[in-house]
């Protein structure tokens, strides 16, 4: 097992820059999810760590050793591909044993280790089967088996659940996390699915246009998004933005929005007047008839235990997640109260979050 350290990593394909100045560290035994939309550079980053692409500049360290330009075969890394890449001309046993064969492991030991791996993944009964007839989940397990059988320094996974159907994906999310808890292998997992990332990862790196927008625990990413992009990408429905123009002084504890004063975590920096956005998660909005912030109900989406109510305010559409008990009429005027401890403030021009006590206080929650 090993620590992965990526330093100022950059990759350009001709004019197109796929990854720009990426730096992060995955601690030994940690599970990192690289999260972002397609084309954001997450897979390219993963392939550079694997040695399938060479960086344009920057360095990659495995356990302190600079492997930036080493061959993939020399890095002792396992990779699970999106389409699994199980060798079609070999059966399950041979597929899993293939990495050991290259290391010259004796046949008896290969047999023992393949069987041990199969047992761990509960696929002992399909060892002699051809891989072409396997169901999606079993293919996934065989691919995992091929990865863990040689006990590599770390695992890299490129959207391994992308081709499974929704129902099965949830099962595999649990299996993967459980497997990680058991073998504690340093893992980098690429996905565009925020739920997968949230459910499995210790740390998440949210990427966009080749840049890491935010690196942190799932809680940090959700509760203290570093940019409007992250706030918008994470959460469903995503964070609401209320845009307004104002200047803010260091130490301010409220802002004026359309003449309504809204309290928020203490601001830690001075901002010249400009366009700002107040970010609020749907679950941090309550309906309160006495509130000065008002809007009219635009629509409601019933979800069983709760509902998403869209409210048209003067500043745009706000989506609130509230209990399903109350029924709303379309066009009905309602008062909205925002949970002031949880509000984020962004600078629209840069898209970055404004520093506030949200970022310095309680690391949890």
């Amino acid at each position: 097992m090993a620590e992965i350290r990526v330093k100022n990593l950059r990759k350009a394909f001709g004019e197109f820059v796929a990854v720009e100045d990426s730096s992060f560290t995955v601690a030994d035994g940690e599970f990192l999810a690289l999260l972002g939309p397609s084309g954001c550079g997450k897979t390219t980053t993963l392939r550079m760590i694997a040695g399938l692409e060479l960086p344009t500049s920057g360095q990659i360290f495995l356990d302190g050793e600079d492997v930036s330009f080493n061959r993939a075969s020399a890095r002792d890394i396992a990779f699970v591909f999106q389409l699994f890449a199980l060798y079609p001309h070999m059966n399950v046993r041979k597929n899993i044993g293939f990495p050991l064969l290259s290391q010259g492991v004796p046949k008896v030991e290969i047999k023992a280790r393949v069987e041990e791996t199969a047992k761990l993944l509960q696929i002992s009964h399909i060892l002699e089967k051809s891989v072409s007839g396997l169901a999606g989940g079993d293919r996934q397990r065989v691919a995992l088996g091929r990865a863990i059988v040689r006990r590599p320094k770390c695992f890299l996974m490129d959207e391994p659940l992308g081709t499974l159907d929704a129902e099965f994906r949830e099962v595999m999310v649990h299996e993967l996390r459980e497997l990680h808890n058991r073998i504690h292998a340093t893992t980098v997992y690429v996905t565009h699915d925020q739920h997968e990332a949230m459910a499995m990862a210790d740390k998440i790196a949210v990427m966009n246009h080749g840049i890491i927008e935010q690196f942190g625990t799932p809680q940090e990413i959700y509760n203290r998004p570093a940019s409007m992009y992250v706030a918008d990408f994470i959460g469903s429905p995503p964070m609401n933005f209320l845009k307004f123009t104002a200047g803010v002084q260091k130490g301010a504890r409220s802002v004026l929005l359309e003449g309504v004063e809204i309290a928020l975590p203490e601001v830690h920096q001075n901002l010249a007047p400009g366009e700002l956005a107040l970010g609020v998660r749907p679950e941090h909005i309550r309906f309160s008839d006495g509130s000065a912030l008002r809007g009219s109900v635009y629509g409601a989406e019933y979800l069983g235990t709760n509902q998403i109510v869209a409210v048209e305010t003067g500043k745009g559409l706000l989506k609130a997640r509230v209990s399903a008990d109350r029924t709303f009429k379309i066009g009905e005027t309602v008062g909205l109260e925002l949970n002031s401890e949880k509000l984020s403030l962004f600078e629209c021009a840069s898209g970055r979050a404004v520093l506030s006590s949200l970022h310095t206080e309680a690391r949890h929650g």
């Binding site: 993939a72 075969s73 990779f79 890449a85 079609p88 990495p99 290259s102 040689r150």
Partner: protein, 317 residues
Amino acid sequence: MSTANTAHSVVEPSLMTKRIAGAIVILYAIITMVPLAWIFLTSFKSPPDSISYPPKIVFQPTLEGYCNLFTTRTRQTPDYIQSLGAPTSTCDEITRNRNMVIAGPSNYWPRFQNSLIIAFGSTFLAVFLGTLSAYGFSRFKVPLADDLLFFILSTRMMPPIAVAIPIYLMYRQLGLSDTALGMILLYTAVNVSLAVWLLKGFIDEIPREYEEAAMIDGYTRLQAFRKVVLPQATTGIAATAIFCLIFAWNEYAFAVLLTSGAAQTAPPFIPTIIGEGGQDWPAVAAGTTIFLVPILVFTILLRKQLLRGITFGAVRK
């Protein structure tokens, strides 16, 4: 099941369509098979039967054609033949009945061997080089790849006869005229373009994740190519090999021009078989029949791959 259901199937061809299609296929098969059947029958006819008019369909089969194919004979007086001992073989007997004796073996077998060596040798080389180049074009960023591929294809755009004279002069200078090596190189050069194009299609279809997985599993690129790509490309390689082999086996124009003795292949040799008083048609037919056997066996063995080779790219797995 109501009749309306069956009648309205959009994807299933109707019974009538199937019958018409079947009839066309059978007719086509007959048309292509008749010349082959005629050659096969002629090879068992006696020389007079082979040129009789109207053509004989029912005749007394004889091995005379095959005997004449493999031997050279000299005419002798009946007295001399009488003075010889008992015939040593069937051919000996057939020959004596024509007032001739066997003088020695003909050149057919050496020419046939030349054909085998040149066709299989050039096929092996073309497929070997073609597989490696196709892999390179498929997987690496080759500078000017499109232009190179077009150039490779363009070597097939001219009829062979257009380059025959320059090649003839070149070969004479290089001492490659009438050598098996020269013919192998020539057929390889012609076939490699076909091999690169066909195989590139097949290799493009093999996802590169397989090699990447193998490289991550600790193999070098060459090992990954051998252990993961090659086994999956066997269909394509087999199809390509048979196309190359058929070309090299049947090639006539270059063979006539560039080989006359030691390296002569069977195609230019067969028409030169002369019998008593003109063409010995049963011997020519026998030579052709035997000449067809290797390609027939090879094609039957690899017919599945051949079919896929013809339709490649049309159907994705």
